[in-house]
Amino acid sequence: MVLVVVSGLIAFRQDYFVRNTAVYFFAPNAQGLSKGMAVKFIGFKVGSVQEISMQSNASVKVKLSLDNDYVRLIGQDAKARLIKEALVGEGVVEIIPGEQQVRQVTENSVLNFERGVDAGSLVENLTGQLQPILADVHQITSSINNPRGDVQQILKNLNQVTGGMRETVAQLNTLAQSGNMLVQSGNQKLDGAYVKVDRALDHVNASLEAVDKAIPKLVGKADATLDNVQSVTADIKHITSASSDQIPALVRNTNSLVQDGQDTLKGVKKSWLLNDFFPKQEETVLPVDSYVAPLPVKP
């Protein structure tokens, strides 16, 4: 008797009591596919995976059993897509509707197949896109930190230049203070000072040229980085938009889950049965510290 009931249940689960239409699709491999897997159309279960077999050309033939009640809604150009509805758990075969005008599927129709992007793949994809950004950031910081890099060399040159200028200004001050000496050999010394100023200015020019050359490179890198960031941000926006079915509700609603959790905990803490288990919070006095910096001990 039990055996009959169990067999009946299995037969019911496998849609043996429903009039079905068998359709097929071919997949490059059987990864993620399993017998009995649900087939869904606009969110409703309309059938199941009946059979999976390997073909002589190493492709995989998948037989779907569709409930006849829904077959009229599925066109010949509909696609079968393998998706995961949540981060964990089994996948489903989703029927993507085609053109309304196309003739409906019939027994042994063959549908096109594609693999949908599941949450795991999306995360992997995001990681892949973030990596070049990290690499760029790493490269820029390394370039800045590298003692032989452009930025460090520019800073070194500028330091030298400012050092030289300081020295020149000091000399000019000395000259100005010693008026007599200036009168006696003023022209000669001033000439020397001007030469130094000229040299210093040359250094500044050279440094500015180096800066000019280095900045476009850095700007280019920064632009590329920003592009990457913008592209990733756009992807994230797209994924988290309400229309995207790929992100499981669990991830989308984390905040509300946390809030719910806190509310529940508060409720539990207040319930008469459990409130003794939680310490009651009170206003507390800060710990005392009697340390006073000692005065020097007299001998």
Binding site: K280, E282, E283, V285, L286, V288, S290, A293, V297
Partner: protein
Amino acid sequence: MMNTFFRRSIVLLLALLLLSACSHEAPLVRSARQEQAIDFNLRAQRAFMRGDYQTATDLYESALQLDSAIENIDGIAVNLLNLAKVNQALGKPAVAQRYLDRLLSDKALRYPLVHLAAAATQYGLIRLQAGDVTAAKSWADKAVGYCLSDCKLNGVIANLRANIAIQSNDADQAVYWSEHAVSANKSETQVEYANAIRLLAQSKLLKREFRAAPPLLEEVLGIDKILGLPDKIRQDLLLLAQAQDKLGGAELAAQYRERAARIAATSLK
């Protein structure tokens, strides 16, 4: 049979739960304002612990305002004491004293003695820091008067008295009070226990028992390092240097001073 037994067990369990509910004390009902004052107080404490004294001050002020509005006497005392401590940490002893005055000179409200004892002790410490030994002694005496039952400040007051004796150059009293402080603080906080040992070491130096000081200071140095208190670590090292100077260990003394100087260079307290 089994079913009946199961049903009876459930009924019995429910009856027990109901009984326990009846015998249970009525839960402590707090107003929303009091809950908020507690929240401010706890947030202020966290701010103080991470060294954000300004935020701590603002939050304790908010808690004090709420407690004053609902006349929560215990809460008022707690927050006044805390505001005094935060202001002392901020290097504003005069402001700290004003908060303590509000607590100690209040004629309208009767604060719990334990809080008055804490306030008097704190007042004594502030006066001692200012070098006013006479006032510090007077406040220590008042603290003892307030510190009756349910008061855990005996060790702290003993530390204050030992420190007063050291600053008065009274070696015998210093040794007496610091030994008393060590024993009283043994079962209290590590901070106060370490303070007591340091004071005992200072007392020994004052009494010219130089050999007794280094082992005590090494012990307290270990505790202060665990607690991560740079100012105290530096002080321990300076006292060790002082002891080594007296014991003829000039080289060792120089090393301790160098270590203390390096800590001072970090400007962390």
